[in-house]
């Protein structure tokens, strides 16, 4: 057995153990922390599977942003926890156990019944990479071969932000999301919030830019940009814009909007909806991705900031 295999076995064992611990642990806060570590381990497993694009997304979204969301939720629930601590009845527990066992059994059967030569489109993707002159096959699939899915995904992000905003109370509607953060202006958090964003913005743009030919892309880069924005907001250096502001809404629809426009353009000039003219494929994809990285950064930041809480003074 090679060292790599041994490492993988240990990695999977630790991940399973951490998963079980996260489910069984009592405090919501500990469970959220366990989930973040779990997300980072899953990212490591994606690296071992040579899926670096997925690993980057998992670390940024699964470990980072959803972890912060869960920590925020845990902080809000802290007061309500003792009341909700009554254990569920025997029938509920038996039903939950039965559903879990059935789901696990169905998944295990599906995995065991997989055909030996798994049907794959990967060779086709590699063979057709010339069509877009991008070298990263994942970006090719996301932005060209299955561009429809990616566009709809961005629309889902937009729906998510509308869902969060709709939780606002009537008089806060259109106001600024989240509390106004205050921090000691001589403190370490403010220091970090001044030092890190220039580096983080360069890395975010680099990850987005390198996505054409290497692992990376608009989503991973956008997540880094969003975290730099949130760092500045949390240190009190800047404030979240009111959700009614025109430019913010423009940025939010820029990505899916431009995608849709280019798609219709393809219907008019090219062979079909979302078909890029061959000579223009790379600049068009790049243009859409520039709009998308801004949209993704704004959307992820606003999703974490939460519903509008402070009404705009008129």
């Amino acid at each position: 057995m090679s060292i790599a295999t041994l490492f993988e076995i240990v990695l999977v064992a630790v991940m399973l153990g951490l998963g079980i611990w996260t489910i069984t642990v009592r405090e919501t806060y500990s469970a959220a922390v366990g989930f973040i570590a779990y997300g980072l381990l899953v990212a490591l497993i994606w690296v071992r599977l040579d899926a670096v694009d997925v690993a980057l997304t998992e670390a940024a979204i699964g470990g980072g942003l959803s972890g912060v969301l869960l920590l925020g939720a845990a902080a809000r629930l802290r007061g309500a926890e003792p009341r909700a601590a009554t254990a569920p009845g025997k029938a509920t527990r038996a039903a939950a156990a039965a559903v879990s066992v059935l789901t696990a059994a169905a998944l295990a059967t599906a995995v065991l019944l997989l055909p030996d030569s798994v049907p794959t489109l990967a060779p086709t993707v590699v063979a057709n990479a010339w069509a877009t002159s991008l070298a990263n096959p994942v970006t090719n699939v996301l932005m060209a071969f299955r561009a429809m899915d990616t566009m709809l995904e961005k629309v889902v992000l937009l729906l998510a932000i509308i869902g969060v905003w709709s939780l606002a109370s009537d008089n806060a509607w259109g106001g600024r999301p989240g509390p106004r953060h205050q921090a000691d202006p001589q403190g370490i958090l403010v220091f970090l919030a001044r030092l890190l964003p220039p580096i983080g913005i360069v890395i975010g743009i680099y990850i987005f830019w390198t996505g054409a030919n290497h692992p990376g892309g608009a989503f991973q880069g956008g997540a880094i940009l969003a975290s730099m924005w949130l760092l500045a907001v949390m240190a009190g250096l800047t404030d979240m814009p009111p959700v009614s502001s025109r430019w913010l809404r423009f940025v939010l629809v820029a990505g899916p909007g431009l995608f849709l426009l280019v798609g219709i353009f393809g219907l008019w000039l090219g062979p079909g909806f979302l078909a890029y003219p061959r000579t223009l494929a790379k600049p068009l994809i790049l243009g859409i991705e520039v709009a998308m990285v801004l949209t993704i950064a704004a959307t992820l930041g606003l999703l974490l900031a939460g519903a509008p809480e402070r009404s705009v003074r008129r």
């Binding site: 370490i188 958090l189 220091f191 970090l192 030092l195 890190l196």
Partner: protein, 97 residues
């Protein structure tokens, strides 16, 4: 030449792994927040630094080497900031008690 590089790598990465191990043991065994932070920052700063130092001879190009060093510097920055924040919160709670 490549043997010498491999020896440097093995020695530095092993030393880094030792600091990670010692830091983890300290994190589990030390009595209060400040001493636990002390153990943790040794793992972050020295452990990660030695691992990066050990990987440098294996880096294919200057670009890759610079990326590795910047990972260490970013790790240092994040580790130092977070331990400062945790330590300040811990001290504030202690004085409030």
């Amino acid at each position: 030449m490549s043997l010498a590089r491999d020896i440097v790598t093995i020695a530095a990465v092993s030393a880094g792994a030792f600091f990670f191990l010692a830091g983890t043991v300290g994190l589990l065994r030390f009595p209060d927040t400040l001493t636990r932070l002390h153990a943790l920052t040794k793992a972050d700063n020295l452990g990660l630094g030695l691992v990066v130092l050990g990987l440098l001879p294996q880096a294919g190009s200057l670009r890759d080497g610079l990326k590795l060093v910047s990972i260490w510097l970013l790790g240092l920055l994040a580790g130092a900031t977070v331990s400062q924040l945790i330590a300040r919160t811990a001290r504030r709670r202690e004085t409030a008690r």
